[in-house]
Symmetry: D3
Subunit: 148 residues, 6 copies
């Protein structure tokens, strides 16, 4: 598998923008501050390609990271794993290869078992099935479902 | 609000197929068996329009209801509310009006609070935001995310 | 049902553009020529709202009607009903309310039975189911499927 | 082309789950039973990656294969090639790389000519064109299209 | 048209959440602060339903409004009308009825002519057409298009 | 990067149809005429893979190129760069890898700066964010947004 993986890595050139190396980041204080916070928050030196691509847009990088921190990392009423499952569901329907990979990995890192993954897939695919039926049938909403 | 609601109900004629009344169902044993099982399983006399539209396709009705029972009702590793949250996420991205309404109602019936709904919306909209970025940037997948 | 239908008709004002009446069309030769050809080709006086909305964009109206004639009306290797079934499938996935309604009606006008509609729905919903699985699993393409 | 194909095969590691080899399958009776039925039904020893990925979820594997058999293989009112054309249409709009490849190959195996493929593409792209217009214009449905 | 419009207004009950009235807002300082800023920034007393629905989620309301201000209102390199055209394009493909209506109205308020709207529709529908072809054909990217 | 690029090129075999070489084109007058016009119009000898794939469908090739010329190349009220930005937006939401790459390259060729690209991404991702909220909340359209 090694050589295929290496090609994936080299394939960084296949993004529509340059992926910033740590050296590129070092010379850009705004970007550097976000990368430092990503590393500190995650307690890891690894910064994935999504942020290296967004580095070309410092304001968007800042805003996006701030949202990720607020929504996915700060404690809330939904537990972290549930949020990753929802993230995978959205990414799947949007046909986002990168996000599906990165959030499936994130869910596993947060404890998702293969069994839970299997149930997640069962729910996603059932919803895709009934969504297409309801859209094809243009079913009108029962008044019982409406809020007062 | 009453008159608007009534119109919604009358709007049954706006589906692309006939919505079956209980009288229609009574004359069709295959459909009737599914409706009976829906009512018994849910312990409620209410059968929503989705099933009344699918009644035109008895085999598809049977198969779809069997899947809903297996995935959403039989106990599994994901709790019932989590499954509804995932269902809402998929339905939202597929822009399915009927499913978004029916599963938001179902999630509330299973205990979803307005706060949890708010967090769900925060995750869905963050995922939509980063999905669009990853798709626009065509970011290549980090080898760290790949399974061995 | 009558009053709900009337509201649907009045709801013409809910388009993002004006729907052209026959009087509006009469004063615009480019638009008028297309409407005449629609009526002659279909052998019917009825011109549906899609064309009445596109009348605001004469060049787009012309080009779109020319494509519809070439693809959907001129004889080809796929029969007219098969083409309508494909059209419904695409419209369903794109969550296009108008197109789903208009092409389901068109398919019925070309002979689609309720049984065939049921099978169409079974195929669409199965494809939606397996599409979501393949996208969630990011399954790599078997070399057996690739063209030489 | 050989080397690129090999990389595609090696790229099995790029799925978000393990692809099961025949040896893995041999040790899992539930999975094994489905694989046996796939081979018997298709009268071929080849089992494509979709099923090798789903093998991680035996219940979902069973349910999905049962639906594929019922919808795509058992005789019905729509002929097998028409069903594949509809499948390609749905897969295209859902931007499903795997499904587009596998069902284009399946359609060719069932006799789709390049000319028929060309017409299919013409219908899909026309529908995508008019869907986007109807959605942008939010055209209201003509009462002539509604079912009684 | 009057009565249909009234029904649309009453249809506020058709959202999956309560739409906040000005009285509801008055009792919630966090929400009130955002509504005040919306009114001050837009120099108008009118606050549209999108914000009245988001009022149920004060943090999401704050973050969303902050992003709208930063991206759509603060001066940048793309002029305000161009940004609205892009917004309409995204909303159309996502089949978002509310967003298509609100941003078509916003574009008109910023000077979009019917002719410009017509050209926008021509570009959106052409892109939808070629997108579906490229996805159906799974065309591989020319190396000439890749960044170094 | 060289080897990854080469693999991309070899990956021409990964399309679902044959990509036509100049030699293939030379023997097909209908296709040849379109390729000649593409080269003359763009004043470049380079013909990208999209057209080499469409060459399998001469009528669709002709119609598609005629639309691209009319919409994207002939002067109109929207300037050429604005049209490319809209094209990227649509392609992103449709998750079209090929179109996102080719139109990002086209936008750069027409003068898009990295700063403008950054703003485009900010608008697209904000729209994706609010689209998902409006669809999840099923917000009803304010009567202020409706056309008379």
């Amino acid at each position: 598998m090694g050589s295929a993986d290496d090609i994936m890595m080299e394939a960084g050139g296949m993004s529509t923008v340059k992926l910033w190396t740590d050296e590129d980041v070092a010379g850009a204080p705004k970007v550097s501050a976000v990368f430092d916070d990503i590393r500190a928050t995650r307690n890891s030196d690894f910064v994935n390609n999504f942020w290296r691509a967004l580095a070309n847009q410092p304001e968007l990088l800042q805003r996006t990271w701030a949202s990720v921190k607020a929504v996915m990392i700060e404690p809330g009423l939904l537990d972290p794993l549930t949020k990753e499952l929802i993230y995978i569901a959205v990414s799947t329907v949007n046909s986002c290869t990168y996000c599906t990979h990165s959030h499936t990995a994130a869910a596993r890192a947060k404890g998702m078992t293969e069994q839970q993954h299997a149930e997640l897939l069962a729910v996603i695919s059932l919803a895709a099935h009934t969504n297409s039926l309801a859209n094809a049938l243009q079913i009108s909403v029962d008044k019982e479902f409406l809020v007062d």
